[in-house]
Assembly symmetry: C2
Homo-oligomer: 670 residues x 2
């Protein structure tokens, strides 16, 4: 395909292509196919539609762009660079996929300004996009006034076949259709190729029809390689449909321009190779050497700088106007936008004394959520169809539904994975919203990939997980977590808190809210069964991860360590042991990570090295507990799957009784 | 709704309903709504269509039934009891959800004969059903002859709104449509209610249209409460469509018959309560007391016994006929059906010497799979669109596709969770098939719920997970496992093996194949990078979990413990340390679970208690390693997320070098 002179647009599109080709080639690693094939649609989107300020990647009212097909990140890096973001220089592009570079192998929001969310694992980005659109809709409904609008932006996603095969994307898109998220526009790079070859091999569903079934507005651009106007028309039409999210299926050729490798799986995930890079240059008539961008193209791209500055200035004016008319709302808006929690919010946290009645911690969780809801308007969330089991309804705040986006209760349906990914999107909208989501603890397994991404991408999401042990009873082993907590504690940067009573619940939320405002996720595990309010527990103790609940004089003979629903067993057992003259300390350990983050002096004061006789009690797997038990410690744990039986029976049969704690303690004491 | 005299069918249907109502009421726990609403469709299915022998729940050619909406298990228990299965007596029903009963809170195949798979976590059952149907199609294509047919049965699934919201079900159903699984028939209990209330709250997609988009044959029965003939007609029509799976949307009222609670979320997951049980009896004109089944109904149901015996006798005759005509194939069939591995199969496992070249263990995995494929025809599997990265193609055995079901390479597409659940179905078809499935290790997170169910339900699935550490390099932290292995080791009953070289790869497969034939799942982690063949490694060592790779004389000063790709670092470091006069033992520890299952004498011989200076080296999280390291051990690990960079650079920067092992060892030695 010889090209005599390229139009300006072709020049721009090929600039994107060749930055990607050259970067991948230099790294000898990466995915050139998607950038080459999706360059036209991405160019039209960024050039004609997207509103952003390259010099202020955090401008509040920017459109959000997500590359769900994250492996194609050179597409995004090229666009960030070309349009003038300082976060991606030409050198950064040359350092693609190298140690310390700003252009890692998949887009990382915590690494590269201009990247909104971390993608790579397929299906996550589009689900994040649903969350970003939900955030926009909520903030718009909350803040905008008929005569003063400050929240108004679109969420654009580019996704591919892989994302469309993933279940998480179906969950999120079904919910998006139900919610009528009219400002979510997804461009589906329909190139008919995945790693295993033609999609004919395993993926022959009618994607457009499926999205129509979800309630989306669906269009098809037949020639996504050269018909730029058709792409533009489709995006316009998508924007005009305001009560449905839009899918634009854009048929392209993967690796477009490569004479020998285009339209094959080979070009998906490997460098073209020197020869093919050369052949592609010839094929597309690209005379520019490695990494060189034609001046005209760069100039055109860089118009985004001025355009963006103007857009932001306009918006600043709109904000000033809003401030003048609605000073209170404006102050609240600015508080949100700067991630500042309201002064004294923590005073709303409920406190308890041992005289208060026993309550399940899923109940004290509910009480805490509802105490916080009025003082923390940024708190928004819901359950995966277990609202009345997780106890996560914010009473009086209504359901977030189509046309009722100011409401705060999110009804996710039975879609745990989608829920987690959506919440990542809400958090990473970076407008102060603090999303929480809930299900049964054991179903963390369904959403683990999203939880991991919360931790990796520094998304301040709060996971409210109830029914946290065999104590949940009759639902049986498919529902009873055993190894779940251990598996979650293993995730770096995730706080895992298992409160023992009401005060610890409040303390957990205190930590979680603070952490969320600092972009760190927290997962809390709550009981189904009632638990007594413990003497010595306290809100502020939770932040230390573990603390002395009760002590005897002098050096303890033995330390009992409890978490969550088993802590009170330690308390009661200690009483019995002390009555027999044993010197017993009781430690409550709601959070490993926070304890490990304390200084050595504190940790030593709680678990002195010299005291080696330690008995932990947790109705869960012993996996990892040796960390605090050492060679001479012991544990009452459950290291097998549970059994369907009433919760009290299960606890008793598996040894979670005061008598058993006393017995095991005496064994240890020898 | 007074009912004067009930037809025989109404009597039968209400028998189902009231066993469920009474069992749930007695347990004061459980889910009466679905059994009450879905009783008609289940009755029609079991009474007029399903082919099974109550006295032989394991009859090979039985139709498979899966209650994907597993919470409604009293529906299934009632039917098992009424039709004459010995595994569910009336006493068992009275012990619903009690400790030690055969009627646990969700169906468990390992607990109750007649239950094919374990459900409860939504979406799993329908995906298992896809696997069961794939198994039938494969075995039919493999064994049936034009003049002698021995494999011929249907897979029926009842699923609800919850299953339909779950992403895993979408993944599996999309694949089922692609594969044209004509003998899969799903009845969708369309009752418009989920735990959070009306499905209007979050689930308003057009399910029928979505399934049409998947390529399914879709029908709608408008009155699933009383129009039994319409249900029957639909099942007949579904059976007549032989090249597509079928979905029959059956509109029902949840909790049908309960005058005050039907059609509400209340009846979904709680006992009706004494008063409402009474009111329901009145409403439906049911005069029989608790747990009493009218004689006529029982007699009708029990016709299934004779019917089943005849069906099995017919089939025995067909098998005898087949045997006479095709003795070799018959022998193979019987070998499959009895889960017997072929004599001497393990001789095909490749062996290596240290002179053989270095190979990635994903490569030696490929070599092993391909060495085994000819001698283990029961081995069938594939990858979630990473065939040429996971190296899981069985060369020459073709792709399992519509009309080509005898082939053995399964092309799952980018559907990890669906893949795992489907493989559970294939394994639990219990016909000797050994399914394997593959993706990148980090994406075990996407399918963790299915992996857990493999372990819980004793499904002999083999998980082939490659790219198992930061050594995978440039794809970066979203793809680099860190905590994944620890999180999987925590799952009870799952073998997690991380081979160090080619011999250990063969050893891992030896364990995995044997374990699969004994209904235990194995997950193996393989490297992307080349690894040397180690002196001292061996196939049979893997079965011990950990073994001495090399030793010095007398008691070691220090033990180096390596797994997978880091073992050779220990070997090389030991050489250096020994050259300096240190007495160093090198232990390779490919599998924690197997090591823990050895007797104490063996474990002591490998890791003597007295030798407390131990250094483990694994390019993964240290979570849980204290188990083998004790108070005085140390580890070279990575406890944070990785970084996008070439694999060798990443390993080096994070300390996985021989020099660093030597340095840390010396620190330990003091």
């Amino acid at each position: 395909m010889a090209v005599a002179t390229q139009s300006l647009e072709e020049l721009c599109i090929n600039s994107i292509r060749f930055l990607a080709i050259d970067a991948v080639q230099k790294a000898n690693s990466g995915h050139p196919g998607l950038p080459m094939g999706a360059a036209p649609m991405a160019f039209v989107l960024w050039d004609r539609f997207m509103r952003f300020n390259p010099k202020n990647p955090k401008w509040f009212n920017r459109d959000r762009f997500v590359l769900s097909a994250g492996h194609g990140c050179m597409l995004q890096y090229a666009l960030l660079h070309l349009t003038g973001y300082d976060s991606v220089t030409l050198d950064d592009i040359k350092q693609f996929r190298q140690w310390g570079s700003k252009t890692p192998g998949h887009p990382e929001n915590f690494e590269t300004l201009g990247v909104e969310v971390t993608t790579g694992p397929l299906g996550q980005g589009i689900a994040n996009g649903v969350g970003l659109a939900m955030a926009e809709a909520h903030l718009a409904a909350k803040f905008n006034k008929p005569d003063a609008k400050i929240v108004d932006h679109y969420t654009y996603v580019i996704l591919g076949d892989g994302c469309n095969m993933e279940g998480v994307s179906g969950e999120a898109c079904s919910l998006a259709g139900h919610l009528g998220l009219g400002k979510l526009i997804a461009l589906y790079d329909d190139n008919h190729i995945s790693i295993d070859g033609s999609t004919d091999v395993s993926f022959t569903e009618d994607v457009g029809k499926r999205f129509e079934a979800y309630g989306w507005h669906v269009q098809h651009v037949e020639d996504g390689n050269s018909d730029l106007d058709a792409i533009a028309k489709a995006i316009e039409a998508a924007k005009a449909v305001t009560d449905k999210p839009s899918l634009i299926k854009v048929t392209t050729i993967i690796g477009y321009g490569s004479p020998n490798k285009s339209n094959t799986a080979d070009v998906h995930g490997a460098a073209l190779g020197k020869d093919e890079v050369k052949a592609t240059r010839e094929n597309l008539g690209w005379e520019y050497p490695e990494f060189e961008v034609p001046e005209d193209a760069l100039k055109h791209f860089r118009k985004a700088v001025e355009r963006g500055a103007n857009l932001e200035t306009e918006w600043d004016q709109a904000l000033a106007d809003y401030k003048a008319k609605y000073p209170e709302e404006a102050a609240e808006f600015e508080r949100f936008a700067s991630n500042k929690l309201p002064e004294g919010w923590e005073k709303a946290l409920p406190t308890y004394t041992p005289e208060d009645k026993a309550l399940a911690t899923r109940k004290t969780s509910e009480m805490t959520l509802n105490a916080l809801a009025p003082v923390l308007p940024e708190l928004i969330g819901g359950s995966a169809d277990l609202t009345h089991s997780n106890y996560t309804l914010l009473k009086g705040f209504g359901d977030f539904q189509k046309g009722q986006y100011a409401n705060r209760n999110l009804r996710f349906g039975v879609r745990e994975h989608g829920m987690g990914s959506i919440c990542n999107g809400i958090a990473l909208h970076s407008s102060g919203l603090i999303p929480y989501c809930a299900t049964f603890l054991v179903f963390a397994d369904y959403m683990r990939a999203a939880i991991r991404l919360s931790a990796l991408s520094q998304a301040g999401v709060i996971y409210v997980m109830t029914h946290d042990s065999i104590a949940l009873g009759e639902d049986g082993p498919t529902h009873q977590p055993v190894e779940t907590i251990a598996s979650l504690r293993a995730i770096p940067n995730l706080l895992v808190i298992r409160p023992a009573d009401g005060n610890e619940t409040s303390g957990a939320y205190k930590v979680a809210i603070q952490a969320a405002s600092e972009n760190r996720p927290t997962l809390m595990a709550f009981s189904r069964q009632n638990l007594p309010q413990l003497a010595g527990s306290g809100i502020d103790h939770v932040a230390k991860g573990a603390y002395i609940l009760s002590d005897s004089e002098g050096t303890p003979d033995l330390i009992l360590i409890g978490t969550g629903g088993e802590t009170y067993l330690c308390v009661d057992a200690a009483e019995k042991l002390r009555a027999e003259g044993k010197n017993v300390r009781v430690v409550s350990m709601p959070c490993w990570e926070l304890f490990d983050e304390q200084d050595e002096a504190y940790r030593e004061s709680v678990l002195p090295k010299a005291v080696t006789k330690r008995l932990a009690v947790e109705a869960a797997s012993s996996f990892g507990w040796c960390r605090y038990l050492g060679n001479e410690g012991a544990m009452i744990s459950i290291d097998r799957f549970g059994v369907s039986a009433p919760g009290g029976v299960a606890l008793e049969k598996f040894g979670f009784t005061v008598d058993n704690v006393v017995a095991k303690a005496k064994e240890l004491l020898g």
